[in-house]
Structure formats: C-alpha cells, structure tokens
C-alpha cells in the first residue's frame, strides 16, 4: 500500500497539490477546490514527509489518519451488527455521517452484513487549508483527501450468507473526501472528521 503525503504549504496558508497522481485524474473529475484562505500559496514540488513538521503537514497527516480510521470504522460497523453506530462519529460528521448511519441502519434492519475489509490502495492529501476565520460560515480547517479503494475481497451478505451485491459493482474506485476540523481550536489533532465524499471518475487505481 502506498502512502503519499502530497502537499507543502506556507505557515498559515492552504495549498493545492494536484501533482500527486496516485489515483490519476481526468477532465471529468471534480475540480480541486481552492481553499478560501486569507493567504495565498504557490504550488510547489511534491514532497513526502515521514515526520511532518509544519502545521499544515501535521494537519495533513491527521486528515489522512482520520480517513484511514473512517474506512476501518466502516468495516467494523458493517461487519459486526453489535458495534454501535455511534462509533462512526469518531471518524466522520455532517453529511457523511448522516448518510452512513442511514445506510447501515437500513442494512442492519435487513440483516445484511459485510464480509471482508476494504483495501486502501492509496490515500493522497490533495490540499489543506487551516483557515479557521469563520467556522459558522464554513471556513474551518479543511483537507481534501483522495482515496483509491479496492473492494474485490468485500461482500455484503444476507442472513443466509447470500450475496446481495450487484455483479456490476466496480471492485476499485476513487473517492475524494472533504475532511474538516470544526474543533480546530480545542482539538487541532483529533478533531478531524470526514464530512463529505465525492466520486472521482476513475475506472481503477491504476496509477498506484
């Protein structure tokens, strides 16, 4: 599994790094959103850091971490119906939490459970903004994280063990996550949560 931390930034700024192409990109992908930051930044060469030092690097590492925790938590909750749904809130909030909670509640009502775990082929932080100037207005520290995932070893089965998954389900795909930290002031490290997701139109994680 690759781990690419594709960003650099100036101290207070946010930046967009589209150079890392672990998941590739095409014209139909959603545009990378420039964060509304009070300070401008310039794209710079991609760097990989195993020991982040700047606030943005730390934030990116935390954002990536919560995305991985998000997938692990989803696996747990969908594999074991006794795991409380409240656990989801450790890794997600907002629209994403609402959607996942709804989906899994429905699956549990139908006695469906997941078998196997989602494999993360790549996790790439595309941008980070630490702008926290207007939390009520939507300006909270944000990271966009692209994930290429593989579900070839994952199934959803009913109580008799029969698969209910469509034969046309793609085994691989990519998703861009909007990761936010609305508790930046009090929880700069562990306040990050996956808030929303958006499909990236890639056939596979071939770039990995």
């Amino acid at each position: 599994m690759t781990k690419r931390l594709g960003f650099t930034s100036w101290a207070t700024g946010a930046l967009v790094l589209a150079a890392v192409a672990a998941c590739g990109s095409n014209s139909s992908d959603p545009p990378t959103t420039s964060p509304a930051s009070p300070s401008s930044t310039s794209p710079r060469a991609v760097t990989t850091s195993s020991s982040p030092t700047s606030p943005s690097e730390v934030a990116a590492a935390n954002a990536e971490s919560v995305v991985r925790r998000y997938y692990a938590t989803l696996d747990q909750v969908r594999q074991d119906p006794t795991v409380p749904l409240a656990r989801l809130s450790r890794a997600e909030n907002g629209i994403e939490l609402n959607a996942d909670r709804r989906l899994i509640t429905k699956e549990r009502q139908q006695h469906l459970r997941q078998v196997g775990s989602i494999r993360l082929v790549s996790v790439v932080v595309q941008s980070v903004s630490l702008d926290n100037s207007d939390s009520k207005g939507g300006d909270v520290p944000t990271a966009q994280v692209d994930v290429c995932w593989d579900v070839s070893a994952v199934d959803l089965v009913d109580r008799k063990g029969k698969s209910v998954v469509s034969s046309t389900r793609p085994d691989q795909g990519s998703t861009r996550y909007f990761v936010t930290n609305p508790k930046w002031i009090t929880h700069p490290s562990d306040g990050w949560r996956v808030s929303n997701g958006q499909d990236l139109k890639l056939a596979s994680c071939s770039g990995s």
């Binding site: 959603p30 959103t33 420039s34 964060p35 509304a36 969908r78 909030n93 907002g94 629209i95 994403e96 609402n98 959607a99 996942d100 709804r102 989906l103 509640t105 429905k106 699956e107 997941q114 989602i118 009520k136 207005g137 939507g138 300006d139 909270v140 944000t142 995932w149 579900v151 994952v154 959803l156 029969k162 698969s163 209910v164 998954v165 469509s166 034969s167 046309t168 389900r169 793609p170 795909g173 998703t175 909007f178 936010t180 609305p182 808030s195 929303n196 997701g197 958006q198 499909d199």
Partner: protein, 319 residues
C-alpha cells in the same frame, strides 16, 4: 451459481431502487455524488431543486363523509417504487419535517458544509443552504441546495383541502327546476293529479358526473363528483327524494305518473302565501377524491333552487 443468481437478484433490486430514486427526482438535475464502495450503490445524491410538480348531511346508507386525510404522504408508485406502498407518513421525524415535494424528511445540514463542498452545488456558504433529504423508505440520503427551505408539508393543506379546491373548480350548481305543472302564472295543477319533477337542461355541473384535479402543497388530488339524489321539498310539508335527475314531462304522457320522480298533492295551495306551494330542489353530491396515496369522500349538500306552483281543486257540479 447460487452466488451469481443472488447477485443478479440483488442487481435487480439495486437497479430498481436506483431507477426509482432517479425518477423520484427526475424533475430536477440530480446525480450521484458518492457511491458506496461496498454495494456499488449511490450513497449520497445531490440535487438542485427545479420546480417540482410544485378536500352535508348524508342520508342513511349513503356514502359517509370521510376525514381530512394526512397532509404528509409517501407515494413512490409513479417512480416505480411499490414497497413500501403509498400512504400517510408522520409529518415529523428525528430526520426533520416531511416534504411531499421531495418525498423525504428535510433538515438543514448541521453544520453546513464547508465552502467548496460539492453539496453547495457551486454556491457559497450564506447563499441559500444545504439540506439533508432523508428517505427512510429507501434508506437514501439526498443533499439539496435550496435558496429557501423546502415547504413543510405538515403545515400545508390536507388532501381534503386540496380536494375542496378541485370541487370549487367544478362549478357545481343546483339543478334548474323542471316541473309540471309549471310555475307560470297561467298554469295550475290539480289535487290528485300527478306532478312531474326533473332537472331541466342537465349538464355536468348540475347533475354530474364531473372530474377535476387540483394541486397544492405538493399534493395532487383528483376528485369526481356524482349527484347522489335530489330532495324535493314540495312545500306542503312533504319531501320526495329522487335518485335520478327525473324525467321531463311531455304532453303526450297525459295523466301518467312520472316513472322516477313525481308527487301528488292532496290539498290545494290556496291557503299558501301567494296561493302557491314553494317547491325547493336540494342536490346531494358525493365527491370521491384520490391522491397523496389516499382516498376519501366528501359530502356536499345544500345546493338548492326554488320555484312556486299552484295547485287547485277540481269542482264538479251535480244536479
């Protein structure tokens, strides 16, 4: 092989749900924002709202007037969703308030998504708001951007109230009285002679049936009005209930009784005001309505019209 069959079945279900969801929101621009990796089905749908196709006194044995119906309803049939079947839903839930327009519970996303989040549909925070559209019938979550909050159907009209709009559109009227002997100054009937009553110049507004539809508050109701009967107050203390529009009298019928709506006076009208009986025809309507996954009945009585006829006694001279 079993797994393959299961997958094909599951595909059919998933496809039906997807088609249904797509159709549900067909009036607006919709797309899947995020696919659930495990199932391959849409987890989060986004939508920019367009203009979505933006309810007497009965006699014994007669159809009874039913209630108002539920203002909040689920109906996925037109979109191919038959389970759950159409029917009322609570107007509020932990997921918010019900919208008949969107067929889901609405609540403002809290917190609102960050600037640049796809849920904003290109708008900026502060420009309208992002709403969660939760559909417990399908387990789907749809995110909606809207300038103003979608209408709360619980605060909107009931199906009965919408049906009453449709009824008003029908322009129902009292029947135009046809009666023999007629009410002219030179006409007089006789005690013991048959009186014929009927609806003159009948049309759909006076004798039905007539159908009309109305839409309000995201509810479309189709109502059909049928004339149940006409109650004739003959002015002498007697009433005749005719379940038909009656048969117009023709001179060639002579002294025959009306086959379906007639009367015979026993006393002359000489002691009545103006020396005439006041005859009043009151229509009783039954309106059945359907829509919003519900049906109901409305009774409408009270449309009436009056006329006066003179009844005399024949004098026989005996030597």
């Amino acid at each position: 092989m079993l797994r393959l069959i299961a997958r094909v079945l599951a595909l059919s279900i998933v496809a039906a749900c997807f088609v249904a969801l797509s159709a549900t929101l067909a009036s607006a621009d919709t797309k899947c924002q995020k696919t659930d990796a495990t199932t391959g089905t849409c987890l989060i749908t986004v939508e920019v709202p367009g203009q979505p196709g933006s309810p007497g006194t009965p006699g014994e044995g007669d159809p009874k007037d039913t209630g108002s119906g539920a203002a909040c309803y689920w109906d996925g049939t037109s979109q191919g969703i038959t389970k759950p079947p159409p029917g009322p839903v609570p107007c509020t839930s932990p997921d918010g308030y019900w919208s008949n327009t969107y067929h889901c519970y609405i609540s403002a996303a809290s917190p609102q998504p960050i600037a640049g989040d796809p849920a904003w549909q290109g708008h900026q925070p502060g420009d309208g708001a992002v709403y969660n559209c939760s559909q417990p019938q399908t387990g789907m979550l749809i995110t909606i951007w809207a300038q103003n909050a979608p209408p709360n159907s619980g605060a909107g009209p009931s199906p009965r109230e919408v049906a009453q709009i449709a009824i008003k559109q029908m322009g129902l009227t009292a029947i135009e009285i046809g009666i023999a002997p007629n009410s002219g100054p030179n006409s007089i009937g006789l005690v013991g002679m048959p009186v014929w009553m009927w609806a003159a110049n009948p049309n759909e507004h006076s004798v039905g049936p007539i159908t009309s539809s109305a839409t309000a508050g995201g509810i479309t109701i189709t109502a059909t009005a049928k004339l149940l009967h006409v109650t004739w107050d003959m002015g002498d203390g007697e009433q005749v209930v005719c379940k038909t529009a009656g048969t117009p009298y023709r001179p060639e019928y002579g002294r025959k009784d009306s086959p379906d709506c007639g009367y015979t006076y026993k006393l002359s009208s000489v002691r009545e005001p103006g020396e005439a009986y006041t005859v009043t025809a009151t229509s009783s309507w039954v309106i059945t309505w359907a829509g919003a996954g519900q049906t109901g009945t409305i009774r409408l009585d009270g449309l009436n019209r009056s006329t006066q006829i003179r009844i005399g006694e024949a004098q026989v001279l005996v030597d």
